[in-house]
């Protein structure tokens, strides 16, 4: 049986909690968590270290809340979706009738990589709707940019307000619409200089060889290997499903490697491409999904020239 603001609902209740002080955060989060525990619902905290400590200190002793390490959960959006879907499926299989989670995008995700977290926030309205989940996504209005807060309003159907109400977001946009919107892709500062590699119509093997030739610089072995996987999948996707010509470009700096793969087509038709594995074997669905879990930032960009996918391994600028 659903409880609290989700009583009587099926599927996912996805709320944003925009707070302006620690007191406002706790005023909403503590009753939310205590209510879940009192209803015997699996109840989780996936906040960053500072806010987790605040909540931990404010909760009554022995409140049976599980703290997930926010940094690990929210490393990459697609990995977070994969982890949560498995968690939710397991909990429901064990008999849970509602699950409560308070989470937050880490501060690093609120900067230049926010766009893929905005896509995450939109996509999970669909991705978690198979389960009786009530979650709140916490955003500190003191540190979140106005563009971030506008996306929060567009991707959360409800707000949990600091005075205890639950109100619909008038700016909410269905994920199928939000995810099809053309979002700005500001160039990585590294892209202002000519690329080290610029190949027209490469095979996946040629693109991989070019990455190896440029070398991994300061990247860890695992980051570099995963980037090669992402490049191979992305070029393969462009060749298979895009419209020629496919163009592969690569820039490398001390702390990151950036690649773009573009073609003259419109890009993936599935709005969830990259965030969810294709459920029906739709073309390219798995390759982009793997790509999103193999890089530290992936962006989509559409313009009158076609579709461009940008991959960043290592430390994205501003992170």
């Amino acid at each position: 049986m659903r409880t609290g603001a989700a009583a009587g609902r099926t599927g996912y209740l996805h709320e944003a909690l925009c707070y302006g002080s620690d007191e406002e955060l706790l005023a909403v989060v503590v009753p939310f968590l205590v209510g879940g525990v009192e209803a015997n619902e699996p109840t989780f905290v996936a906040l960053g270290e500072r806010t987790s400590n605040l909540v931990r200190a404010a909760l009554p002793a022995d409140t049976k809340v599980e703290f997930l390490s926010g940094g690990d959960v929210y490393g990459r959006p697609t990995a977070a979706i994969r982890m949560y879907r498995q968690l939710l499926a397991d909990l429901v299989a064990d008999g849970a009738t509602q699950i409560r989670i308070i989470g937050e995008v880490p501060p690093a995700g609120l900067g230049p990589t926010w766009d893929w977290w905005a896509r995450y926030e939109s996509a999970i309205n669909h991705a978690y709707d198979d389960w009786p989940l009530w979650s709140m996504c916490a955003y500190d209005t003191r540190t979140s940019a106005s563009g971030v807060l506008a996306d929060v309003a567009a991707t959360h159907p409800c707000f949990a307000t600091v005075d205890g109400r639950h109100v619909p977001s008038v700016d909410y946009v269905a994920p199928e619409t939000f995810l099809r919107q053309t979002r700005p892709m500001p160039p990585d500062p590294m892209q202002t200089v000519p690329p080290l590699v610029d190949l027209l119509g490469p095979t996946a093997a040629q693109a991989r060889a070019a990455v190896h030739q440029v070398g991994q610089g300061g990247l860890r072995d695992d980051e570099f290997d995963d980037f090669v996987v992402a490049v191979s999948e992305t070029v393969t996707n462009g060749l298979r499903h895009g419209r020629p010509p496919v163009r592969f470009r690569l820039w490398a700096g001390a702390d990151r490697i950036v690649a773009t793969v573009s073609d003259a087509g419109p890009g993936p038709l599935n709005p969830y491409a990259g965030l969810l594995p294709s459920a029906n074997g739709a073309p390219g669905g798995l390759g982009l999904w793997i790509t999103h879990q193999s890089c530290n930032h992936v962006t989509y960009h559409r313009d009158d020239q076609g579709f461009t996918l940008r991959l960043t391994a290592g430390r994205p600028p501003g992170v």
Binding site: A205, V228, V229, S232, W289
Partner: protein, 275 residues
């Protein structure tokens, strides 16, 4: 250029476009055998005599041809069938010849064979590819080395690739992977090179033709030389294992292979990372 992994045995595929160039490489290959005390056979597609006469004038070969250390044979003097090869009987024939060479005091038998005439049709290539893998396995225990040469200008690149991928070494620069038997302590076969959509069909065919035999319901593939494989190849390996009710182990793989496999639901595939 030859592929960069050192071969566990010497079983080399040599695609050639120029018969004279092939002759040069074959002679060098066989000269190495003579130096190692092996009996050597040069198996040629036409009559043996003209080539034998030619070799009589080549350094190191004149005396060896007279003693029988070096022999030039026509294809039908070395292969049991000129139509569609029977892998088992051909392997048995070479095993017998290798053992005879050892019994005669040589350290083994080394063969350079132009097999172009034996692989002109799809059916011939299918059988010959299966034979190549059986030869790989035979070399685990027999003092036998071979260079299989194919005229690319007559057969085409893709036909040669069907055969080359089942050799530990080949000179096809565009062919990205190899699948070949290795010492059993390393597994039933090695999977080396790179697997991506450009060679998935060839890989599927090669895996079927290799007809790998599991031990205790497990097929171990040595992935030490596997530089790259994509999710489609992993999924195919899992399906291959499931269809045969075995578990496939990718042993000594790069850690990225394990991370990729962990993203996919592959219950019949296990990845063991190189230490």
């Amino acid at each position: 250029m030859l592929t960069d992994q050192p071969p566990p045995y010497w079983h080399l595929c040599w695609a050639y476009d120029d018969p004279a160039g092939f002759m040069t490489h074959a002679v060098e290959f066989l000269r190495g055998g003579l130096a190692a005390g092996e009996r050597v056979w040069f198996v040629v597609s036409g009559p043996a005599e003209p080539i034998r006469d030619q070799l009589l004038g080549v350094r190191d070969f004149a005396n060896a041809l007279l003693t029988g250390a070096a022999q030039v044979r026509s294809l039908d003097g070395a292969y049991t069938s000129m139509a569609v090869i029977d892998p088992a009987s051909q392997v048995a024939a070479y095993r017998r010849a290798a053992r005879e060479a050892v019994a005669d005091g040589y350290t083994g038998l080394r063969v350079a064979a132009d097999a172009t005439e034996l692989v002109r049709t799809a059916a011939q290539r299918d059988a010959f590819a299966r034979y190549e893998q059986r030869v790989n396995e035979m070399m685990r225990t027999e003092a036998f080395r071979a260079m299989c040469a194919y005229d690319r200008s007559q057969l085409g690149e893709s036909a040669v690739a069907e055969l080359a991928c089942l050799h530990p070494e080949h000179n096809l620069g565009q062919l990205l992977f190899r699948l070949y038997a290795v010492p059993l302590r390393r597994g039933q076969a090695a999977l080396a090179g790179e697997l991506d959509p450009s060679n998935h069909d060839l890989f599927r065919t090669a895996l079927d033709r290799a007809d790998l035999q599991p031990v205790d319901d497990t097929l171990v593939l040595d992935a030490n030389g596997l530089r790259f494989l994509d999710h489609r190849a992993l999924i195919h390996l899992n399906e291959y294992a499931r269809d045969r009710q075995v578990t496939i182990v990718l042993r000594a793989a790069r850690s990225g292979v394990a991370r990729l496999a962990a993203l996919l639901d592959l219950p019949d595939l296990r990845v063991e990372v190189a230490r």
